[in-house]
Amino acid sequence: MPKSMSYAILEAIRGEMRRDKLLTLFYEYQRPGGLEAEFGRWRVRSCAIDEHWIVGGVMGMSMIGVPAIAHIPSMATFIPYELMFNHAGKLRHMTGGQAAFPMVLWADMAKRWAFQAGQHADAGLESSYARLAGLKVVIPSNPYDAKGLMITAIRDVDPVVFCQYPVPASGPDVPDEAYTVPIGKAAVRTEGKDITIVGYAPQTVEIAKAVRQLKNDGISAEFIDPRTLAPLEGVMPTIIKSVKKTGKLLTSDEGSYNFCNCAEIIARVAEAVRGAQFKRLAFPDAPPPGAPEMINYMRVDANDIVAAAKKMVKE
């Protein structure tokens, strides 16, 4: 059985906790199975429903050189937003390089599932973090990247926001040993020449399906997963190169439309590749309703991606 995303992440954390005797994890109710038994309560701390503590406590700890991970649930993603903005992202700069936050904000993320209205099925929150200076933001789409990016994030002396979306296992097998996946590099999931499709996390499932369908229909799509959302400097060359080749960029977001991550990607490509064709698919600018009829209608799926790609290729 392939390792799940959660398993791969916990394996990464366990390995790093063995490697660094100070590395500490704060969490709320999403129990990191097995870790407390191995490392004890002080290093694996179950906290009150207090995301300011979970994140702010980790920040204070990491300031004195105790690297730490703050795990917060998906409905609380923005409670520590100002702490990450005004402190984790800024203090190194404001102190002329003295302050460091060797921390990971491990953010559990939701997707657009039914029966979980409003606060429990919102997605795309990463773009609010990606716009904050001084933070790195990564979003793995498969267990292999998840483990490698988590290890890189932990070893990074800068604060990293690690977004864990619920995505079924796919991609390469996850080795038991430690390995790293670099922050700031995109992955070309499928090579193609007719159109470039960009998306990450839950949308990779839809895009992968769409790419197979398009292939059957004679369209060769290049599918790129950015994996990192900030900084984007190392990610963009892969995407720009692709769009220079295909002349077409289609993006698909699980998050809502306005200011979604792919808007930034399109804007950067539009500056770099004149005359290309662009299309952005996304959830509407609405909260997610609980009724399945409504939310399933609103969410972008493989069929929508296929239809949009075909339209662009025909034009």
Binding site: Y29, L281, P284
Partner: protein, 398 residues
Amino acid sequence: MKEEVCVSESKHVVAAEKGDKTGVSRRTFLKGLGAIGPGTIFFSAGIARQAKGQYGPTYTDGLSAEQLTAMYTDMLKIRLWESKIKDLILTGGFRGVAHLYVGQEAIAVGVCNALRKDDYIASNHRGHGHLIAKGGDLGLMLAEITHKATGYCKGYGGSLHITDMSLGILGMDGIVGTAHLFGAGAAYGIKVKGTDQVAVSFGGDGSLQNSFFSSAANAAAAWKLPWIGVIENNAFQIWVRSSDVYGIQDLARRADGYGIEGRVVDGNDVLSVYNVAKYAAEKARAGGGPTIIECKTYRWYDHYGAGGAKRGVDGAFRLGYRSDRELRDWMAKDPIPRFRKFLVNEKVMTEQRADEIVAEVTQAVEDAVAFAKAQPVPKPEDGLLNVFAEGAVPLHKS
């Protein structure tokens, strides 16, 4: 590390007791009038000085037989309607989710009966009981929980967000603690309007941190707002014991730090709850400011859904983070038979009338189920409405 590692709300089996009987049949609780003494009210050490003698456990001044009967009926409504939902979930294919309130009925009913119809309540994720006690309709609630187009929120919200503004119900809310802030905000609004209404917020033992409670408490204390913060202390924040993450045992003690009167009350005794709430409401109406009421209680089911539960049987067992014995001890303090016994002893109702009420509520629940089932599902494109008061937002699928 075995594959069982997982990051979820999953149970952590600590020391599940072997050989526990796995439940008490539904009927037992209605009949089982065990050896439970009358409700007691107690105060935390820190706030003992605020105790006033008059809140005796069986104080029923000003409550007519009709009202007492209505309170009994409301408690049953919560119990039977939610037990039905649990059964429906276990049956499979339920179009929704639920955080069950069973076991805590005395709190919602005690508090809401101390309020006027035009008072406000702000509720949390475990709020079905609050809504029923404030007058919520069982059919419309079930229609909402199953995301039907004619439910309270037209199917948008579901269990976590049931709202009925016409009853002063500001809504359930999925974010822990915000109810307190909205309650205190509403209390400020009452002062601006110049009415003598009161605003109550409900939160669990988990709702004290996260800034919302603190902001509510400080503002309410500073300006003597007509706010009542009800803390339903059922010992757990999902599976985390509050005693492991707080430095205080009696959560009402937190009130003192803001300059607010804090009370601890037996949350399984509806009259004790009622009396403290009544006192707090009258104080608030008279300009005396806020009160924080901690109600000690226990939830019979798992944090969420029907894990560990069986159809037709009360309680969720073998949950790992709690012992079955602990649950059983609390089930023995079941607020409903306790209140029934009191009412019968005091000749407020006969055993026969009490049984009739059970039958009536059982029927009302069946009616609600039938009603909800018959309701239409929402139109897909309605998801684009109600973002703003006017218009629809665009779709971005093509």
